[in-house]
């Protein structure tokens, strides 16, 4: 049970305070309700590039990192297709420094040309390091457009192509800031060795004066239900063949999300999971195989990924995966197996309470979903799932005409 207090400033900034006096540290986590899905299709990769620019100095503070490091703090950020999340960890005695820094960059950025030029290069190197210069690195650049034909999830957070980043201009950066980076579109969680009164006072001082800005009303084209089997095969300089079979699944807030998440656990969580047991151990077809959900807010993906053994054909390997998926459709899972994945989920939630920053990030994310307290109801939502629901969802998802298959063939 993660306890918290919650209030909203007049400018719309939502604030959550989580007291944890077992640590001398504090965390400040700010989630901005903007991700790669909010980008212009001709300017993809922008939310992520922008995340880099948030460290390039703000209107009153020329550099961001240095004053934070000077008080013993650390920070980082990540961008997903749905959100952009910034976080600071610092000694709780120096909490105010975090408020000073974060409120100034929510107020306004410095918009330096030099910073833009350098971060364009840095992000292009990131693009190369993670997506182009690694075996299988470009998988998400290929898979997303295969699965999504309408929704902006069709591009990865890094962007469709290097040129979109190369062409980013300072005017675009300013417009993006104005549209998305204001109190109304943000959720702040302050956790650790802090008190609600202290946080309220610091919010009034540093964040309350920031103008509310414009409310961004999201209106994205939703992905229509998939009704045909899709397939792409690439021959690439990779050492081994690799198979990705992906399925469209409902978004994070759908009532069936928990059953579907447990399906991915049944398939792939731990050494006892079905895919590993059946296809790596009992009948060796793959050297490794995994299944997971993207957990997206809009229509998501359930991905099954495996590297077949060298003596196994792609056809055999695919058939073996489908056989396991069809088992979930044909037979209800045994009681013990359902208990097992529920137990694992439950203990994971207990272990998660050991990590302050994770708690803060989760509170912010669930507040975005509608209510931070949903975080505390996760376990009961998983425990309520029945074997019948799992079978129903398996049948709904594991259809050929809901599948997109990407095959990497190793260039010999």
């Amino acid at each position: 049970m993660v306890k918290f207090n919650r209030f909203t400033l007049d400018n719309g900034l939502r604030v959550i305070v989580h007291e944890d006096h077992t640590t001398p540290m504090a965390v400040v986590n700010i989630l901005y309700d903007v991700g790669a899905r909010d980008e212009n299709p001709e300017q993809t990769g922008f939310a992520h590039l922008f995340e880099h620019l948030m460290f390039g100095g703000s209107v009153n503070i020329p550099v961001y990192d240095e004053p934070l490091q000077r008080v013993g703090g650390e920070n980082n950020a990540f961008t997903s297709n749905d959100i952009t999340n910034y976080y600071i960890t610092l000694p709780a005695v120096n909490l105010e420094t975090a408020f000073w820094l974060e409120s100034d960059r929510m107020l306004n950025l410095a918009f330096s040309e030099k910073s833009l030029e350098v971060q364009r290069n840095v992000v292009m190197e990131e693009f190369k390091q993670r997506y182009l210069n690694q075996p299988y690195g470009d998988v998400w650049l290929r898979l997303r457009p295969l699965v999504y034909k309408t929704h902006p999830y069709q591009w990865a957070t890094i962007g469709k192509e290097l040129s979109h980043i190369e062409n980013a201009q300072i005017e675009d950066v300013k417009a993006f800031f104005k549209k998305h980076y204001n109190p109304q579109n943000a959720i702040m969680v302050v956790g650790g060795d802090v008190t609600p009164d202290q946080v309220k006072a610091l919010c009034d001082k540093w964040f309350a004066p920031i103008p509310a800005g414009e409310k961004y009303n999201r209106n994205l084209p939703q992905e229509p239900e998939q009704r045909e089997e899709r397939r792409e095969t690439v021959t690439a300089k990779v050492p081994l063949n690799d198979i990705y079979i992906t399925f469209q699944v409902p978004g994070r807030m759908d009532e069936h999300y928990y059953a579907i998440d447990l399906i991915s656990d049944i398939l792939s969580r731990g050494q006892s999971a079905r895919l590993h047991r059946a296809l790596v151990k009992d009948t060796p077809v793959f050297s490794e195989i995994h299944a997971y959900l993207t957990g997206s807010l809009d229509t998501g993906m359930l991905v099954v990924e495996g590297k077949p053994l060298e003596n196994i054909s792609i056809e055999e390997a695919e058939a073996a995966v489908w056989q396991e998926l069809q088992k979930l459709c044909a037979e209800q899972i045994p009681v013990d197996e359902l208990t097992k994945v529920k137990n694992k989920t439950e203990s994971t939630m207990v272990f998660a309470e050991m990590a302050l920053l994770d708690k803060a990030m989760n509170l912010a994310y669930f507040e975005l979903l509608g209510d931070a307290d949903l975080f505390n109801r996760e376990t009961e939502n998983y425990l309520a799932v029945t074997a019948q629901q799992i079978q129903e969802q398996a049948k709904a998802i594991f259809r050929k005409d809901n599948s997109s298959t990407l095959i990497y063939l190793a260039e010999k």
Partner: protein, 426 residues
Amino acid sequence: MLDRTIAPESKAIDHINLIKPGHKVLANGCQVFWFNSGDQELVRIEWIFGNLRFNPAKPLLNLAVNSLLTEGTSKLNAAQIADQIDYYGAFLQADYGYDQSQLTLYSLNRHLGNTLPVIKSILTDSQFPEKEVETFIRNQQQKLQVSLQKNDMLARRAFNKALYGNTIYGLTSELKDFEQLQRADLLQHFENMYQPSNCTLVIAGKVDEATLNQITSAFEADWDNAAQAADTAQPELQPAAERFYFTEKPQALQSAIRMGVQMVNRSHPDFPALQVLNTVLGGYFGSRLMANIREDKGYTYGIGSGITSLRDAGAFFIATEVGADVCRSAVNEIEKEINLLKTEQISEEELSLVRNYMLGSLLGSLENVFSHADKFKNVYFSGLDLDYYNRYTEIVKTVTAEQLQQLANQYLHFDDFYKVIVGKYE
């Protein structure tokens, strides 16, 4: 009116409070350390064993035995081990390290009665079934083929080989090494290594009296030492004479750079001050290497330096992946930054920032009771005690720019660095 240009007042970190472990030695020689703290009813238990003397003819035994621990005993096959652990919501992992290898169990206290017997069976009775060994070999060979396509991995391998030679630290496994793994060798290695007198048990979490007794009694009874004590001494390291290694990858968009040199480890009095020097150079986001090569030049997504502390060695290294077309420029900038540490004293402004950053970072690394146990392991396996952290904080607070310059001149000679480049050298 709020003046946003002025930073709020701040406080320096004065000291850190570390949890001291309880300690006892079991009748069979197993060392037990425990850390009792936390609100959650859970524990992390680590069984840590010193690796056996490296055998160049059978280089993978330490790794393979550790990886195969969860693959079957005479009473539980691999599937039963996995079922039992997963059913009780526990997590079990086997980790191979340079000096020690270990098993780690994360379990809710209330399930220890069901999870501990699995570990007991593993540590007393692992069987290394032929079928599981075959699966391991096949899958590891596939994984290795993928790793060998990654430039940073190739650079790391070449660097370790050059620094340490054909020893456990320099080990670079080849596909053929996996083929020679034999069940008989694995069994013999297991019996000699995984015995109580070579085991350190570290328990962290809700470790009340009853929990402690439950764990220790399980590993005191019916767990006996082998006839021979474990031989964990390692042969001399064999650094290579050649200092420069270039592997060309004509298609590379980026080149991996790894360079550095052998250095003292944590047990040496200079170590804490060298950590300060390292932090200035490449040990944090605002470091000189990051500021110059990422934030000013935009050559890379990331660059960093570090000091590795092992039982019988230490090493200083710099690692990055840079645009292939700017590889030579990046190497030149690294050289400039090294030389700057030797020719110019670090300003008090920069040094005070690094001091505060390091102390804040130490404080922040103590997130929960597990982190306290981790801090303890760092010093314990270096032959030190928790006083080390008092010395460390004192030195971080007081080391002078002059001393750091001296250390740079004593330890950092760019021309002597081992340099590995994989990709293009343009």
